[in-house]
């Protein structure tokens, strides 16, 4: 009952394009997360869906209806703002009832809706308080409660957790996940810059960068098969290592010459036209290991600094031979505690199935599908 379709949606302020060519299908009951670096336009996109920003190109459909010119209140949406946007002069009860009162709902109807929402969010004892007498977490829940009361088709969340401290953020994240679970047919769109929130909450993630959509997919899709170097480095922490390599053989599998000079075959298909092409070889820090006897050495390096976190040790390394077109640093995340002093030479290896190959920034995984 609530699907959204964005066709070629664009936003510009005068001459300046903020977003363009946004195509996206959102199915009913999905929890879609928009992520991206600050300034990528993810909040703007959400506000366009809400109707708070004019859409300057393309169409937005909700349930098959073009709603470009429909005012926010008639779109069947509710929005939770980053600052909560509670009305400071109204009690919790009045805050939650405001939209229903404006819609001229009957008094018993309003009371029932407010009571139910308050119950669900454990806000019943605070109904007659003003927002300033609530803690940050409670305010956040009032903001969510205010949207529940309206029973919208689509929930919009604009970085709802960024004003909370770390512990509360985890707790509220779980509450939002439970909320979604309790309303499987409601669609939610959630904006965040925190990839952990994105990975844990989303049924699908939309990564926005460079005024457009970089990749859409389930959290694991993005982790396992990032479509481009941007997504590869944006999802996962520390970011994926990108090492220079050259394709020496194409076909069902691809043969690569590694920075160490050794050659290796990875199970990714490549077209013949890419033979001899310079590519970026992506390996996540957690997939790197210290090369054992018989391993193909990926890169030879020298330890710069180690960060011992207990469960893992993060090792920052410089390559022994500087290679072209790279900032040079390689990061490995080794399980357990390792005491390695600076300057120690270290040979690194990884399994072929954990490797990603990017040609001109795009993943070979998706190359065939596209061409």
């Amino acid at each position: 009952m609530a699907s959204l379709k964005l066709n070629d949606v664009a936003k510009s302020y005068g001459e300046v394009d903020v977003l363009k060519d946004i195509d996206l299908d959102i199915r009913q009951g999905e929890l879609i997360v928009f992520v991206g670096p600050s300034g990528c336009g993810k909040s703007t996109l959400l506000r366009m869906i809400a109707g708070l920003e004019k859409i300057t190109g393309g169409t937005l459909e909700i349930d098959g209806q073009v709603v470009n010119e429909v005012p926010p209140a008639q779109r069947g949406i509710a929005m939770v703002f980053q600052s909560y946007a509670l009305y400071p002069h109204m009690t919790v009860r009045d805050n939650m009832a405001f939209a229903l009162k404006l819609a001229k709902k009957s008094k018993p109807e309003i009371d029932a809706a407010v009571t139910a929402a308050a119950e669900k969010l454990q806000l019943t004892p605070y109904l007659d308080r003003l927002p300033k007498a609530l803690s940050g977490g409670q305010r956040q829940r009032v903001a969510i409660g205010r949207s529940i009361v309206r029973d919208p088709k689509v929930y919009l969340f604009d970085e709802p957790l960024s004003n909370l401290d770390a512990a509360l953020r985890v707790a509220t994240r779980l509450e939002i996940a439970q909320l979604k679970e309790s309303m499987p047919d409601r669609t939610m769109i959630y904006v965040t810059h925190d990839q952990v929130e994105a990975m844990t909450l989303a049924s699908r993630i939309v990564v926005l960068a460079n005024k457009g959509i970089s990749q859409v997919g389930t959290p694991l899709d993005l982790y396992l098969k990032p479509a481009n170097t941007f997504v590869a480095q944006f999802i996962g922490s520390p970011a994926m290592n990108l090492l220079p390599a050259r394709i020496t053989g194409t076909g069902e599998d691809t043969r690569l010459r590694l920075p160490s000079g050794a050659e290796m075959t990875v199970p990714i298909p490549s077209p013949a036209s890419l033979r001899d092409a310079a590519v970026a070889l992506g390996v996540r820090p957690e997939n790197l290991r210290v090369a054992a006897d018989g391993d193909t050495v990926l890169v030879q390096s020298k330890v710069q600094i180690t960060e011992k976190l207990g469960e893992v040790t993060v090792v920052y390394m410089d390559p022994v031979r500087a290679f072209e077109g790279d900032d040079g640093q390689t990061i490995a995340k080794l399980p357990g505690i390792h005491r390695i002093s600076a300057g120690t030479p270290l040979d690194l290896a990884a399994d072929p199935q954990d490797m990603h190959v990017f040609h001109q920034g795009k993943s070979l995984h998706y190359l065939e599908a596209r061409s």
Binding site: P72, A73, M79, Q82, A85, Y87, F98, A99, L102
Partner: protein, 383 residues
């Protein structure tokens, strides 16, 4: 910053003393007039207000009695000068000791008290500190006593007589009501008009919005002098003339730029999220204004109301131009500036009382609502 080690205590002392000096310099003039408004007019001209707690030496005159019996070759009259009505009336409280006396108006302190003054021709006069006297004269005084001039301490006396005079005989009560009649409507009416305009300039999108805001900032400094002649002519042309409705309209117009500017600055500072949230909740612009913006803007509305009230209450110029000059239309500032300073130029007790009648209300507003006033000032000038 109070915790910094090694701060010199002499410096702290110096700033305390400097502040005290400044504060004293700033309040002493007002204090002086305030004290004087409670003093008797004779005392005001006899000693400075800073001596108000002390007795004042006043000179007065009286006449002795004339009941006498011949004692040999002369007549002797005795009694107390303070029994004389004229002498007594010169002192508001219980008179203090007589310090000197005389028999000529020009020399009221010719003789020391307690001594017997030889007045020539066998006539003598003795006046004691308590006012008792003995007058010995060779001629029968008949029924006419002797004129005595004397100086005596008059104890300090505070009185509400000046206020009574001002409010009853000088028509100040009428002027007070007129001021109130001008100030209250001229404060209330612009607020709502300005608030709607401020909201549209702060939160609604339309083409020449920026231009209008700039225009209002420009009008903020237009001297009122410029408006006097054309607006008065306009009022005369449409039949309002010089009248209360005329001055209400004038004050509304002259206060409007500040009202719109102040309220717009404040409203523009309200969180965008709240307004957008209300919009998502289904509120129209009118509902957003009434249910969200107005309640949240109360501090700014109060600030402006205080400004406008003080300004209209204290105004002289607009009242002189837009109200008729007849006495029944005079507001207090006009009354003081045009009437009292002229007709009662030297009567400081009355002037002081009149001044305090006119500044009592603004001072009360000031001290009780200072918080809003400061906030408004800051919103209006600091960016």
């Amino acid at each position: 910053m109070d915790n910094i080690a090694g701060q010199k205590s002499s410096f702290v002392w110096a700033s305390n003393i400097a502040t005290l000096t400044l504060v004293l310099l700033w309040i002493i003039p007002t204090l002086g007039l305030f004290v004087s408004s409670f003093r008797d007019r004779d005392q005001i001209s006899a000693s400075g207000w800073w001596k108000a707690p002390f007795a004042v030496e006043l000179t007065a005159r009286g006449r002795t009695g004339a009941d006498t019996a011949p004692e040999g070759d002369h007549f002797s009259v005795s009694g107390n000068i303070f029994d004389d009505r004229e002498a007594r009336a010169a002192f508001t409280g219980d008179p203090g000791a007589v310090s000197a006396f005389g028999i000529k108006g020009a020399e009221p302190r010719a003789f020391q008290v307690g001594t017997t003054a030889d007045l020539g021709g066998g006539e003598t006069l003795t006046v004691n500190p308590d006012g008792s006297y003995v007058w010995v004269t060779p001629e029968d005084p008949g029924n006419r006593g002797k004129r005595i001039y004397f100086a005596a301490k008059s104890p300090p006396k505070l009185t509400l007589a000046n206020y009574r005079t001002v409010l009853t005989s000088d028509n100040m009560s009428r002027a007070f009501m007129n001021t109130l009649t001008v100030a209250v409507p001229a404060t209330i009416i612009p607020i709502l008009v300005a608030a709607f305009a401020a909201y549209s300039l702060a939160w609604m999108e339309f083409k020449i919005r920026g231009l209008l805001i700039a225009g209002i900032v420009g009008l903020l400094v237009v001297p009122i002098q410029l408006a006097l002649v054309p607006v008065l002519n306009l009022h005369n042309a449409v039949g309002i003339g010089q009248s209360f409705p005329g001055i209400w309209l004038a004050h509304t117009g002259f206060g409007m730029p500040l009202a719109v500017y102040l309220l717009r600055n404040y409203m523009a500072g309200l969180p965008r999220d709240i307004i957008e949230c209300a919009r998502v909740d289904g509120a129209t612009d009118f509902q957003i204004f009434v249910k969200i913006i107005l309640p949240l803007s109360l501090p700014a509305l109060a600030s402006f109301a205080i400004f406008q009230f003080l300004w209209t209450w204290n105004d002289l110029l607009v009242a002189k131009v837009f109200l008729p000059s007849a006495d029944e239309y005079k507001v207090m500032t006009v009354k003081i500036a045009d009437d009292l300073l002229g007709s009662r130029g030297g009567d400081w007790g009355i002037l002081a009382a009149a001044a305090f009648v006119s500044i009592a209300v603004p001072l009360a507003v000031f001290f009780s609502l200072q918080r809003f006033l400061v906030r408004g000032l800051l919103a209006g000038s600091v960016k």
